[in-house]
């Protein structure tokens, strides 16, 4: 028995689970983005700042890679989403891409002599990426719940109805909730990561302080977001593929799929537990627990909006143009072929974890950064 014997719906669900996992992993790895916004607050001098940048600088490619894979997996598994959202909500995605290009060069170029734009500029780039990039991603994902204005023609080609091409999502205040949730979550996980990877007391002290503030802000926006989705009308699909509005759809989804609800609760508890342990006991362990918690929570939210007869990319202009995991997916054959490729994912995670462990078991110290032949960012 192979993937080819599975029903199309099962493969579609399998791929939505993978997409949700990648989404979760990406939000976790955004500790890099959050960390970038903290480099001034957590440092008193250049050496400390360099320690911070080198700590997250060893992980930025991982976030980038996850974003690329997230795009590639969506392209292959749910091509209609790729075409509709990227082509339609043009400016949101172009803006997000911009925020990421400037990140990619900033680590490598920041401290190099003759770097043309100056160290300050590259640090500003990192902050734009960390604040604006994260915020816009949250807003873009929030439209999974609030909906967008588009029509699909008989060729399934997208006709976006709003001239702002995606920026109209910023006109809906509800979308800000997830945007800010991600910004503050990334700051919290960034600080947790610094605590785990840097062996330097002054930085750890300041990291703990910053978690305290950012965690409260995170909680405010996170509760706001959760309250919004649990009380709002949702976009439901009947067995014939007809989309209709259902009250409390996302609340119902949680109640009707207890596994997803359990993932959500466990995830949230792990994040809260990790933060609590870090600020009360000053433990440096907690990015791992917190990280798993973030992955589970985000997965649960994406599973909620994709499973149980839900249109995950709804159109408010034409309900029947809304995308579901059934009407937007790749063919049975492609999903099957890709499913075999997906068997490599655990292997990738294993060697990734091994490399991560090997690198992080020796913490970053002041001596290392000041050593003459260090490869510093």
């Amino acid at each position: 028995m192979g993937f080819g014997d599975l029903e199309l719906l099962t493969l579609q669900q399998y791929w939505w689970i993978i997409i949700s996992f990648l989404g979760g992993f990406f939000v976790f790895i955004m500790f890099v983005q959050g960390g970038q916004t903290l480099i001034d607050k957590l440092s008193d001098n250049e050496t400390e700042k360099t320690m911070l940048i080198n700590s997250i600088g060893r992980k930025w490619e991982l976030g980038f890679t996850t974003l690329v894979l997230f795009g590639g997996a969506l392209f292959a598994a749910f091509p209609l989403f790729y075409a509709t959202s990227f082509g339609g909500a043009y400016w949101v995605w172009i803006a997000i891409l911009f925020c990421f290009i400037i990140q990619a060069v900033s680590y490598e170029y920041r401290s190099k002599p003759n770097n043309f734009l100056g160290q300050k500029t590259y640090e500003v780039f990192l902050k734009i990426n960390g604040n604006l990039g994260t915020f816009l991603l949250g807003v873009a994902i929030s439209t999974f719940f609030s909906g967008s204005e588009f029509i699909l023609d008989s060729n399934n080609f997208v006709d976006w109805q709003n001239d702002l091409r995606g920026l109209e999502a910023l006109l809906n205040p509800a979308n800000y909730l997830l945007g800010f949730t991600l910004v503050f979550l990334a700051k919290v996980s960034g600080a947790l990561y610094f605590m785990s990877s840097i062996d330097h007391e002054p930085i750890i002290d300041k990291a703990v302080e910053s978690i305290k503030i950012n965690f409260y802000l995170f909680i405010v926006f996170f509760l706001g977001f959760i309250t919004w989705i649990l009380t709002k009308d949702g976009f439901s699909v009947d067995p014939n593929g007809v989309v209709f509005i259902e009250s409390f759809k996302y609340l119902n989804n949680f109640l009707e799929t207890p596994i997803v609800l359990a993932l959500f609760i466990i995830g949230v508890l792990m994040v809260v537990g990790a933060v609590f342990t870090a600020i009360v006991f000053r433990k440096t362990c907690c990015i791992k627990t917190g990280g798993v918690g973030i992955v589970l929570t985000v997965m649960a939210i994406l599973l909620n909006v994709g499973f149980n007869g839900t249109a995950y990319y709804p159109s408010t202009t034409d309900l029947q143009s809304s995308l579901t995991i059934v009407n937007s997916s790749g063919s049975h054959y492609t999903l099957m072929a890709m499913s075999y490729a997906s068997l490599m994912i655990p292997f990738v995670i294993a060697y990734g974890a091994y490399a991560w462990y090997s690198m992080d078991k020796v913490k970053i110290t002041k001596q290392e950064i000041e050593s003459p032949d260090a490869h510093n960012y």
Binding site: V68, G72, T334, A341, Y351, M359
Partner: protein
Amino acid sequence: MEEHLVDWSRAQFALTAMYHWIFVPLTLGLGFIVAIMETIYVKTGSQEWKKMTKFWMTLFAINFAIGVATGIIMEFEFGTNWANYSWFVGDIFGAPLAVEGILAFFMESIFFAVMFFGWDKVSQKFHLISTWLVAVGSNLSALWILVANGWMQFPVGMQFNPDSVRNEMISFWDVLFSPVAVSKFLHTIGSGYVMASLFVVGVSAWYLLKGREEMFAKKSMIVASTFGLITSLFLVLSGDESAHQVALKQPMKLAAMEGLYEGRTEAGIVGVGILNPAKTLTNDEDPFLFELEAPYALSLLGYHDIHAFVPGMKDLVYGNKEQGIITTQEKMDKGKLAVKALEDYKEAKKANDMVKAQEARVILEENMRYFGYGYIKDPKDVVPPVAPVFYAFHIMVTLGGWFTFLFAALLYLSMKKDISDYRLLLTSAIWSIPLGYIAGEAGWVVAEVGRQPWAIQDLMPVGIAATKIATTNVMISFFMFATLFTLLLIAEIKIMTKQIKIGPNGGH
């Protein structure tokens, strides 16, 4: 579609692709050169080789970051600017991109961190393996994206599904092992190896001319000219195979590459030539103002037979009964039948008229091969712009020949004589760095301009593939990207030249 929208969308994609290709070749080749150097270090334990490895690695990193940044834009631009394309073939095209992410990018990025920061954190062996894996990973990512590109040039392994109005994959292996994809991959990575070798010999030559870092430069020169000589021979072979594939699958592109208007048997290759700007498809002007021709060569190169008939642009547009080539007008008629049949099919299905739907489906399937021609307005539109394709092809081939000679000469003199004495050769090695970039970009001009007007050969012209959006949006984003990429390129060049001036002993 708005007027000019397609041109701006193409301009934005071309801009991104050409910037991306400034950085990628060096990543592809320098990864291996660095890995070879580190292997020598691990075998000999010599600190000199370690220093050499670290120096070239620093340059690798400066270049790598910006390659990654431009790469992510390319991936997402398929969606933002070619939404219709993304739906029409996403089922096939998306898969290699996803596999690329799973199999290649993670390998590259995870071991990249170990390679740079792991010197004192992991064992020597693990570090060496990491360096090799970065090189393998970057070449694997090239494989998958080139498979995707090869598929656009020669679509295989799929079937059109009128219900979902898209092409669906029916054989992953046909897509992966398509002869066009394989030769494209080999030729492209080969060009990356040659580019990286040119870079290393050029920089080493600069040190030798300045009388600096002699041992370092000579050793680097030997490694890179050996690697460069082997890979440029490989480049010639894979180029020959690529041309053969073009002849078989994209004869119009081949005709444009050679400025061949009238097809003939025993066709020669124009080695050097200047196109006559007055020449059009319909007049009788001589295609060339001046040309030097190598007889039989085009028939041989294209079809591996000196007597073979090579169709010219006129044969392909107006047909050639003798050679069994149908006219473009006929293809357009069939294409229009296919497009019409698809509409009929959709309507019949909506009306639940299964008999009619079946009839339409039969017509559609009979004519699907020419589906894209249904959107072509004038038969002459299937001819790509001849001048850029012709000149780009000839520049690429000429420079490829020069590079092969350069590596051979540098290697021979490095082994047998004191290379420092040959100052003219060293100077030309430095100048060959920009020439390498020109040759690489020219290669992509041949591949991509040469297949216009097709986004997917014969199935979808670029005009249908583009996202429907007001042109102003694409104009604005084009200039945003152009500005940002240019700023970053300037920064990269400044940082790179500074690091080279600092040298292997001065900085880190």
